[in-house]
Symmetry: C2
Subunit: 459 residues, 2 copies
Amino acid sequence: MPMESVLRYIEANQDRYIEELKQFLRIPSISTAIKHRPDMDHCAQFVHEELRRIGIPRVETFSTNGHPIVYGECLEGPEKPTVLFYGHYDIQPVDPLELWTTGPFEPTIRNGELYARGAADDKGPVWMHFKAVEAHLKARGSLPVNLKFLIEGEEEIGSTHLDEFIQNHRDLLKADVALISDTAMFNRNLPAISYGLRGLAYFQLDLKGSNRDLHSGSFGGAVINPNFALAQIILSIKNTDGQILIPGFYDDVLSISKQETKKLSQLPFDEENFQRDLDVPELFGEKGYSTIERLWCRPTLEINGMYGGFIGEGAKTVIPAQASAKISMRLVPNQDPDRIADLFEAHLRRITPASVKLKLTRMQGGKPWVTSTDQPSMQIASCAFKKGFGKTPAFIRQGGSIPVVATFRETLGLSTVLMGVGLPDENAHAPNEKLDLGNFQNGIVTSAYFFQEFANIEK
Amino acid sequence: MPMESVLRYIEANQDRYIEELKQFLRIPSISTAIKHRPDMDHCAQFVHEELRRIGIPRVETFSTNGHPIVYGECLEGPEKPTVLFYGHYDIQPVDPLELWTTGPFEPTIRNGELYARGAADDKGPVWMHFKAVEAHLKARGSLPVNLKFLIEGEEEIGSTHLDEFIQNHRDLLKADVALISDTAMFNRNLPAISYGLRGLAYFQLDLKGSNRDLHSGSFGGAVINPNFALAQIILSIKNTDGQILIPGFYDDVLSISKQETKKLSQLPFDEENFQRDLDVPELFGEKGYSTIERLWCRPTLEINGMYGGFIGEGAKTVIPAQASAKISMRLVPNQDPDRIADLFEAHLRRITPASVKLKLTRMQGGKPWVTSTDQPSMQIASCAFKKGFGKTPAFIRQGGSIPVVATFRETLGLSTVLMGVGLPDENAHAPNEKLDLGNFQNGIVTSAYFFQEFANIEK
């Protein structure tokens, strides 16, 4: 029973694992804030040293034009399969600070949950895998597989320098499967393996009318209001049935198979509870699809922000000179973000009223991804979850995006296992982010079993 | 020649008039800012003392629940007609301060123009009439008419307490005509008397979706985005041809007579220059009307501001919980702001998507006004302009609103003469507000002639 000593080690070191995670969480590694640059370097160094501490023989920190990437490897022999673990040490900003019950960088346990920025996204899950590796190495002296670590510091700002790094280090990163824990369980009682992600195409749109703000009494009736032009454009890119009106937008959308429709409908999704939690009068989306299909398998277009004119207290009778919007689309296989951006831009140029000037800025893109669930690596992950959580995980998709997964496939030819231990209410990106310590513990065991079982995969 | 001594007095005291106006302009009487409350009291007192100084025998400052109203009267005899002069001593805020060439409260003359906040709106024009009165009283010992002054301090914040004051002081304010200089000339070479004003109905609209901002990946496709609902509403209240879609909105609109259409078309309006000045790709508005008709005689609906979600630098993938808009309409005779507000509210309740909650706040209202140009008071004003500016003034309407004009008619039965000496580029409400000192001088003469000639009106 080679796992017995590993499980005993995990059990025996439980408290120390949490204390060490707290140290990781105390570092304010906010990648988007320039003033936290020293913290980013400090955090990369902390990850580097931790990998050495748990027994990884080769650890290297690579500088980029942004934040450092930490690479580690523990090679047990060319006959063994290789797992590439990806995670990120950077975190989201903490505003609004006043909504935190305890400080975002003062990790605190309440009711079995560890509160801190990064606890769930992604320091806790990263730590979970580190500690599973430590258990193997310390309890048995070796790993059942070859293991490579790729820990970046720019996930929260679009992984700006990661693709280039992967392109330039294909041999170094060669592996048989990629492993990521940056996704969620289906619900508190049901762990999940994700087999699909949506992609992203994000834009800023600026409309310019007159060369200055105008008095709406003196000029109202003579010129277009950019706010109105913006509303007009919005209704020309998406209709009130939730359909996106950009010509060609749906051309490459992979339709949902009957088999998948059936499987998705069998998931224990409580639509009433979902609606109640959001406190909306009704759910809304593209006609002809279930809520889950709309969330995971259908593309969307959202106005993430819009702004024009006077928004202060009281009244100001102004026709603003400019209106702006942040518009993004979630893409699904096989939509390509660059092609979608071209279609969007061409459509915008066609539909923008002649009375305003349009400026379109392409901001971020990421490819969608879907894979089959019957691959051996997926089945091994499922078995590992059964042992770690005592439950058969659900196979689900995610509505969000992890662009590196498509890069792994395209650049390294890798399939990725998305091992979800997050909770839907873990407040990632929000105040009072937290990690369920029961899940953390179960996740370490799951990870340890995954490495153990993956050793037997046919190469 | 009874006017000779008056004109000589005006000529001789020209420089002193300007120096005194500068003192008036140095008082930062911003009515909307609580911290300027002492300045408001100080400014009311300054007006009070000035009226005494120029020889008005009865001056009284009335407290309101807002800023004081200064009343003055100089009665020459019941056989003489009575003019009620209205003006305001409050001014707009000065932001953005960095765009002022010289400080807004450091009156400075450059190229024959006096720069300061309030120079054009409305301290300069008020001063013009004060100084015409002074010339009559000092040069001749009496006024040709009975004169009443009503100078308020809340014009820039909706004249909140003025209507009530007028209601409660009908006898005190009894007169034969009202006189206001708070409008503009048609252009730099053509003074104007306005015979029409638009009314106003101003609203704030808040749309609430979910109870919190949502991640657009995790939730995009399941709920409505309030930004989208707002765009949908905007297109349901005004179409892309500039027509307002509120049922009943146009019911009471007075159509433009053929005669007026002809007169308006004869005004020296340079449409090309107007467009070039605003630097817009094209002019835009309701089909079937000329630009001037759209500006003066047709109602409009504008989105003065709108806001929802993330508007900072960069990208944030959020579905906002709320979107808001400031929406106002300029009304024309005989639209009633209260009825329009009811129609708007009913329409909004009908068209707002069921997936968001609507909150509508009524903010300001003001009645439109139009009068005939062949009244004796209008003709007298025209003659006065000819003498003061050496030019026959144009009869025009204004696109903006001065709600007190409708109150004067309804509560006091008064016709109003709108004697426009402002310039279209005087920057009222904007940085570098200015007053043309030539027009100021001509305006004093015009005012003096108006009082002189109005004495002969048939009572």
